[in-house]
């Protein structure tokens, strides 16, 4: 297969070529990237804030494709599950959409009484020259709630720039609330989006350790909690792609230190708890944490070993949004005895890939911003039995008859926390061990003699 000339440097094979990977580039014109746009990046980060109105300023499509597509749960209001758009028509494209935006915001705020409103600029807004900032200011003054523009015009960079725009928007909320009464053992959880209720699992662990969670940013997010986030003693940052920037901004402005964590897999999950206990340097807390980790692991380890027995030695490929998630997945798959043969991400940085390289075995293929053609070629070349990716990768795996596990934002099963590791193992097991793969036509050379055909003739003629 041909890797497009302009993309050669975004593919790396460990042990074969000296390490050099080009990343954080705009996708090449004409390659079918698995990436979305700046708007998508902003939207995914802010989406779980459930008591805010999220208004997409642009033509209807951009909003329609993001209506209730993610599993971000809320324990209360569910405004985030509605899709609002100014649905710009030709008239507004010619004469500007400011008055429509203004009227629309007023109508939405009057009807839903949100705690804040976010206005997302899409590509077209970037070229028709609406002064979104001014409209937001006017509405905010009139209605007395924060109305925050998110500068997410799709063409102005990559999904990562969208994360940044979202972080900038969040900084306009943070600092507005009162911080009295917050414990000295307090954290913000950054970069967990409460998919399938994951932040509830994590919050429960911290509560049991004696740590107060001030704000989930943005999982099960509430405007008032985010407004108090600057009162927390520590920021826990998951998913390096989306929230590092916010942690950095909060450090500069409020001096809050941060800790990189991941909640996937035993190893990383335990470390996410121990790290916090170490940071607060409290012996009691450390003891509680050790007990917690022990209890949790004991409860599920035997079951996990059963899965491991079946899965050991099988090969897997990983292609996910953020590189940090890829690290955890490599480790989690190891725990199940599986080998990672291909690993890649949409938005990793050079540093991330360096780390991945160190983590992976010889021969592993490492890719940045890949496309269906490449991915399918790599999974075939490596003969994997499992692919971990998002909704766009699933049909590639299935078409080739390979097991699949959804590790992106639409999943309905919690994969975070200790219990999440068990869910993950179960999902991997259910996919890899399914009997359906016996019917898949395999290319000639890889079908061992006496394969499926023979099985049949044996049962037919005993």
């Amino acid at each position: 297969m041909k890797v497009l000339e302009g993309r050669k440097k975004q593919v790396f094979r460990k042990g074969e070529t000296p390490f050099e990977i080009d990343c954080e580039k705009q996708s090449l014109a004409g390659s079918v990237s698995q990436r979305a746009c700046v708007f998508c990046g902003s939207r995914v980060v802010l989406y779980p804030i459930a008591d805010a109105v999220h208004l997409v300023h642009g033509p209807a499509g951009c909003a329609a494709y993001t209506w209730d597509i993610r599993g971000a749960l809320s324990s209360g209001p569910e405004l985030h599950r509605l899709s609002f758009t100014t649905d710009l028509r030709e008239q507004e494209v010619i004469h500007g959409g400011e008055s429509k935006l203004y009227q629309g915001l007023i109508q939405l705020i009057d009807r839903y009484h949100p705690k804040a409103a976010f206005v997302y600029g899409t590509c077209i807004v970037g070229v028709i020259g609406d002064d979104v900032e001014a409209v937001c200011k006017k509405v905010s003054a009139l209605k007395g709630i924060p109305v925050i523009p998110v500068h997410s015009e799709g063409f102005k960079g990559t999904k990562k720039d969208g994360y940044k725009a979202a972080c900038t928007a969040l900084m306009r909320l943070i600092g507005r609330g009162r911080t009295d009464g917050i414990s000295k053992y307090s954290v913000n959880i950054l970069g967990d989006y409460n998919l399938a209720g994951e932040i509830w699992i994590i919050k429960d662990y911290y509560r049991r350790m004696g740590v107060e969670v001030v704000a989930g940013i943005t999982g099960d997010g509430r405007v008032e909690e985010i407004e108090r986030a600057h009162g927390a003693a520590l920021n826990l940052v998951q998913c390096s792609g989306s929230m590092n920037y916010l942690a950095q901004l909060m450090k500069e402005k409020y001096g809050i230190p941060s800790l990189q964590v991941s909640y996937f897999g035993f190893e990383d999950m335990a470390e996410a708890l121990y790290g916090v206990a170490r940071h607060f340097n409290d012996a009691e807390m450390m003891k509680r944490t050790q007990e917690l980790v022990r209890d949790e692991i004991q409860a599920i380890y035997p079951k996990l070993l059963e899965y491991r027995k079946a899965l050991a030695g099988k090969k897997a490929a990983i292609y996910v949004g953020g590189a940090f998630k890829a690290f955890s997945l490599v480790k989690a798959l190891r725990l199940l005895g599986m080998d990672v043969a291909v690993v890649g991400s949409q938005t990793g940085s050079k540093q991330d890939y360096q780390l991945l390289k160190e983590l992976c075995d010889e021969g592993t293929i490492i890719v940045d911003d890949s496309n269906p053609l490449e991915l399918s070629h790599f999974i075939r070349e490596k003969n994997v039995s499992l692919f971990i990716g998002g909704v766009k990768e699933r049909p590639i795996a299935y078409k080739l008859g390979i097991g699949f596990c959804d590790h992106n934002h639409e999943r309905k099963v919690a994969l975070a926390g200790f219990v999440g590791m068990l869910n993950f193992a179960e999902e991997v097991y259910q996919s890899v061990m399914s009997p359906v793969w016996q019917f898949i036509p395999r290319p000639k050379q890889s079908v061992p003699m006496g394969g499926v055909q023979d099985e049949y003739s044996r049962t037919a003629n005993p």
């Binding site: 014109a29 004409g30 998508c40």
Partner: protein, 452 residues
């Protein structure tokens, strides 16, 4: 017929429509050896792929010219040319369908000019056929993108010549199963045919032993070329406007005998298609279909009491809404709400003309969103909702059962295999609808009969 006034809201809440390039991409995916290419930013292509994949559960590659900030200032020409080269390099397509997006339309890129340049510069052999269509989403919705693209393909590819024993049919935005049914009918009439688009295999195919850059199947370019030599052409969909109607173009340009029929849902609309094919071919309607029709009427009779006077709300693509409304009316169900996010301006007129007996009982709404549909539903309390899976929140909230039809079906498996058309498709819909009503009654009954 009550034509519903459009809402005075400035904001669309839970849109009941998608954008034009989605329709265009779907059409291009129904052409053999074709790759769709959207001229604009990356996001549009990725979102549209994701949305289509969630329905069809098939790999769907849509390339993008990937605008950068400077493309919006200096034009997207260089990016488009680079994208074409890369797509040709990687996919070796025989056809590239280029659709614009809101962005490239707004900055005013001239596709023809860019392609002329590309054609001058790109001299390598094996250059694919390039077809362009203008699909700004601020001017319509996905169904407009769909019809405009079929028409653009025909305008740019079809040629004339002596007539052949071939019929062309433009089915509109129907399911993969529907396309297979139409092809079966045409085959049974002993016809050579073009169905455009034909994504029955490309979007609902079998397993692959090696990855296919372009899914096999689709309408062949040779057939599309020959469309101007068809002995007759049929555009399905009564709300398709004249300027979007590819059959109309073939008639004006090449003098092909042209018909515009409704989607064949229900006895009456299916009869019209069958009779038309009989007239075109001079053959009788094959026995098989007479039998299917007989069974369908038999089922109508068996179940008529469960249906009479029931009310249904239908929403989605305008022609599917119309087809189902006509079918429901013939079994005694009143289609009290006929709603679409599209703006055809024709849905009300067609209903009035085809179902005069229901004058005053149907509320027709075009350009509507799900928030408005909910308001209407609360007002008339129908027994059934019929439409795509995006009506599920409404169904859940109101407790009114939802029969899933059309596009998208994101919460069930097999959306692409739902059969709506022909006697067989109608039978399938009919059984589902009757059983849903019986189920509701059975569940409500304190006795819980285990027989009908």
């Amino acid at each position: 017929m009550n034509i519903r006034e459009l809402p005075t809201r400035e904001v669309t809440i839970n849109a009941c429509k998608l954008c034009n390039p989605l329709g265009a991409s779907l059409v291009f995916r129904g052409i053999e050896g074709a790759v769709p290419l959207l001229h604009g930013s990356q996001g549009c292509a990725t979102y549209i792929r994701r949305y289509l994949i969630s329905h069809f559960k098939e790999p769907i590659d849509i390339a993008s010219s990937n605008f950068s900030e400077s493309s919006t200032i200096f034009g997207g020409g260089p990016k488009l040319k680079q994208a074409l080269k890369n797509v040709i390099d990687q996919y070796q397509p025989t056809f590239i369908g280029i659709a614009t997006t809101c962005l490239s339309e707004t900055i005013g890129d001239d596709l023809q000019l860019i392609l002329d340049e590309f054609n001058r510069e790109y001299r390598a052999p094996g250059k694919p056929l390039l077809v362009t269509v203008s699909t700004p989403s601020y001017q319509g919705s996905h169904i407009d993108g769909f019809h405009d693209t079929v028409r653009a393909v025909i305008e740019q590819v079809a040629t004339g010549g002596p007539k052949k024993n071939m019929v062309s049919i433009f089915p509109g935005m129907v399911s993969a199963a529907d396309l297979r049914l139409l092809k079966e009918v045409l085959t049974d009439f002993g016809l050579d045919f073009l169905v455009l688009p034909d994504y029955s295999e490309t979007m609902d195919g079998g397993m692959w032993d090696t990855y296919q850059k372009i899914a096999p199947g689709g309408a062949s370019v040779d057939k599309i070329r020959a469309a101007g030599r068809s002995k007759a052409v049929i555009q399905l969909g009564r709300t398709v406007r004249k300027q979007q109607n590819a059959a109309e173009y073939l008639k004006e340009r090449f003098g092909v005998e042209s018909y515009q029929l409704g989607l064949p849902v229900g006895i009456r609309e299916t009869d019209r298609l069958m009779q038309t094919l009989a007239v075109i071919t001079g053959n009788d309607i094959p026995q098989k279909y007479q039998e299917e029709r007989g069974r369908l009427i038999d089922a109508y009779v068996d179940a008529h009491k469960y249906l009479f006077g029931k009310k249904a709300a239908i929403y989605g693509e305008p022609d599917l809404v119309l087809g189902i409304a006509i079918f429901l009316a013939e079994v005694g169900v009143v289609p009290v709400i006929c709603a679409t996010g599209a703006r055809t301006g024709k849905l009300g007129d067609e209903l009035r003309c085809l179902l005069p007996e229901l004058e005053g009982e149907i509320t027709v709404a075009e350009g509507i969103d799900f928030d408005d549909i909910r308001t209407l539903v609360e007002r008339v309390q129908p027994d059934l909702l019929i439409g795509n899976s995006k009506g599920y929140p409404l169904s859940r909230q109101s407790g009114i059962p939802l029969i899933r039809v059309g596009f998208p079906i994101h919460d069930r498996i097999g959306g692409q295999r739902i059969l709506h058309l022909g006697y067989r498709g109608t039978q399938h819909l009919f059984d589902q609808i009757v059983n849903e009503l019986i189920r509701a009654r059975q569940d409500r009954s304190p006795i819980g009969w285990s027989y009908m």
